[in-house]
């Protein structure tokens, strides 16, 4: 592995508990800047848990507890002095099911910038267009910016959510199975999009689809449950290496499909 790459986030000995249940056990891995990092593993192994702990969405679950550190540019996001709002502005998120707000397409994209207090119409217009272009949605919606975002197709809604996330210029974008609810064509468009977005953002993507991980990511993490059903990191490596020459027997079993 090239260890000289700039590191954007660093996950150190991270464990996550839901009440007394340990869902994630001492995971340590880097997130490299301007790279796509995929998290793969069987269902229930803690992929979403790991991803959501990277922008403190775990805070929303009553009884969730974090041990270990998540460094963003060297600073622990779980430091009590850290402002969670600031963390989430720097680490954006796209969810499994498209969740646009019931507002116009324009208002969806302008939602984040408006929270910052950006009100100037001309500026917002420009930002909305830029974000929709980056999300490869502009051409399809430019004539109906003031129609409801809920009226778009599933794939378009998901790209709208991506546009909404990048409108606030985060540094990292987390994606939780962003294409699992979409048809193959829409999936392909999202994958192409991810490829373009990594020039500007560091991306972490959860997927249960190994072909997808192989197609879009530069690095891959493989998680698996241990005997107590806690997710553990089995292997982290450059994607091509992990898929062609896995070091661990369990990784090999999983990627060759000999595994649940």
């Amino acid at each position: 592995m090239q260890n000289t790459l700039p590191i954007k986030m660093e996950i150190q000995e991270l464990s996550v508990f839901y009440k007394s249940f340990r869902a994630l056990n001492k995971v340590t891995m880097p997130v490299y800047e301007h790279k796509v990092t995929a998290i793969i593993g069987p269902s229930g192994c803690g992929k979403s848990t790991l991803l959501r702990s990277l922008n403190r969405m775990t805070d929303l679950v009553p009884g969730a507890l974090i041990e270990g550190k998540v460094l963003l540019d060297g600073e622990d996001i779980y430091d009590p002095k850290k402002d969670v709002v600031d963390v989430r502005r720097r680490v954006g998120m796209v969810f499994q099911h498209p969740n646009p707000f019931p507002m116009s397409i324009y208002d969806n994209v302008a939602f984040g910038p408006r929270l910052y207090g950006l009100k100037k119409r001309a500026f917002l217009d420009e930002l909305v267009e830029k974000s929709l272009r980056s999300a490869a949605l502009w051409d399809e919606v430019k004539d109906k910016l003031h129609q409801s975002g809920m009226a778009l197709s599933g794939g378009q809604q998901q790209r709208l959510c991506i546009a909404r996330a990048i409108a606030i210029e985060p540094e990292v974008i987390l994606m939780d199975e962003p294409a699992s609810a979409l048809d193959p064509v829409a999936t392909l468009r999202i994958e192409e999009l991810i490829f373009q977005l990594k020039e500007r953002f560091s991306i972490v993507i959860v997927t249960h689809n190994m072909q997808q991980a192989a197609r879009v990511s530069d690095y891959t993490t493989f998680l698996l449950m241990n005997e107590e059903r806690a997710g553990e990191l089995i292997e982290f490596n450059v994607t091509t290496t992990l898929f062609t020459r896995p070091k661990d027997k369990r990784t090999e079993d999983y990627i060759t499909g000999r595994f649940g």
């Binding site: 502005r89 954006g92 707000f101 929270l115 975002g149 996330a165």
Partner: protein, 332 residues
């Protein structure tokens, strides 16, 4: 497989009838259709009876009966009737009640749905539901003996001394209020208390029904909890919350017993909220049993017609509003 054989062995005529009835679906449809027909005909029948029985009054007074611009008098002894004061009473008490109840109810609903810690929710919810279930006569009694003297009268005095002194506002806030506190204002406040639990409970359920993914989307963009509530949850639930408000308005304008007990029951003119008055519902309840003449009874029934039409109009407006909001936000 025994069952399958039994079905196959059924006589032909039986299967034919079964086919024609679509195996029960037709019967069901017919039953449901009949019951909805029954509801509609009931409404039509009520409307027609009210219309028919108010003929005497309608012919006698015409449109002047409901006009705000004619000198009003309600005098059973002289067979003179005019409904504007009670229409005004209904509108003003309901509108004041709504204006006061909306911020309260929304605040409580937001607290219950979004902010309250888990252990505090069941008792609070229970209290809201209980308040909604208290019979209105109890509110009326409590109003007369506790609420009017202790709260309404002092507030009324303050209003009379402040807003009541400002030229132009004297019409609406002029005092003095009767020492008993019986007044439109007293009725409006009682109505506020009565419709708050209704609006609260419905808006709370509306908020609770909003998918968690909406909150997550907003928070993940760096919104605070308040920003999420104001910018996402309230707009998302707006049509439902509007429905809750209309429900509250319907309850306020139709409320009879509690209002009759605290509004003072006079047909005197004047617009001041500090003065006693009547509402459409309370004048019917109060006078119908002792109507002195056919014209008197007929006039009261015509008020019933006005109340009926007002309610229908309100419902239509509500539907239009809800449709409009849905159309704008959800794209349907």
């Amino acid at each position: 497989m025994a069952n399958l054989k039994a079905i196959k062995r059924r006589p032909r005529w039986y299967n034919k009838i079964g086919y024609w009835l679509q195996h029960g679906d037709r019967i069901w449809k017919a039953l449901l259709f009949l019951s909805s027909l029954l509801i509609v005909s009931l409404v039509v029948w009520i409307a027609w009876r009210l219309w028919y029985q108010s003929t005497l009054s309608r012919h006698q007074f015409g449109w002047a009966f409901i006009s705000p611009w004619v000198p009003s008098s309600w005098n059973p002894a002289l067979d003179k009737f005019q409904a504007w004061p009670s229409i005004y009473g209904s509108l003003i008490t309901s509108v004041i009640a709504l204006i006061l109840a909306i911020p309260f109810s929304l605040g409580i609903a937001i607290f219950l749905a979004e902010l309250a810690p888990a252990y505090a929710r069941p008792p609070l919810n229970y209290m809201i539901e209980m308040l909604a279930a208290v019979p209105s006569v109890v509110y009326g009694l409590w109003g007369i003996y506790v609420f009017l003297p202790l709260i309404v009268v002092p507030i009324g005095e303050v209003i009379a001394k402040t807003a009541g002194q400002i030229p132009g506002l004297t019409t609406f806030f002029g005092g003095p209020m009767p020492v008993s506190g019986l007044s439109r204002f007293g009725a409006a406040l009682i109505l506020t208390i009565m419709i708050t639990p209704t609006i609260t409970a419905v808006s709370r359920d509306v908020l609770l029904a909003i998918p968690q993914s909406q909150r997550e989307a907003s928070l993940a963009l760096g919104a605070t909890q308040w920003e999420t509530i104001w910018n996402v949850l309230i707009p998302y639930g707006l049509s439902g919350i509007l429905g809750a408000v209309i429900l509250g308005f319907g309850r306020a304008i139709g409320e009879t017993m509690a209002v009759t007990m605290v509004i003072g029951n006079t047909t005197g003119g004047g617009y001041s909220i500090l003065k006693p008055g009547y509402t459409m519902a309370s004048i019917i309840a109060n006078e119908f049993a002792e109507a002195v003449s056919d014209l008197h009874a007929s006039a009261l029934i015509e008020i019933g017609v006005v109340l009926f039409v007002t309610t229908l109009l309100l419902n239509a407006i509500a539907r239009w509003l809800v449709w409009n909001v849905n159309h704008r936000t959800m794209g349907r």
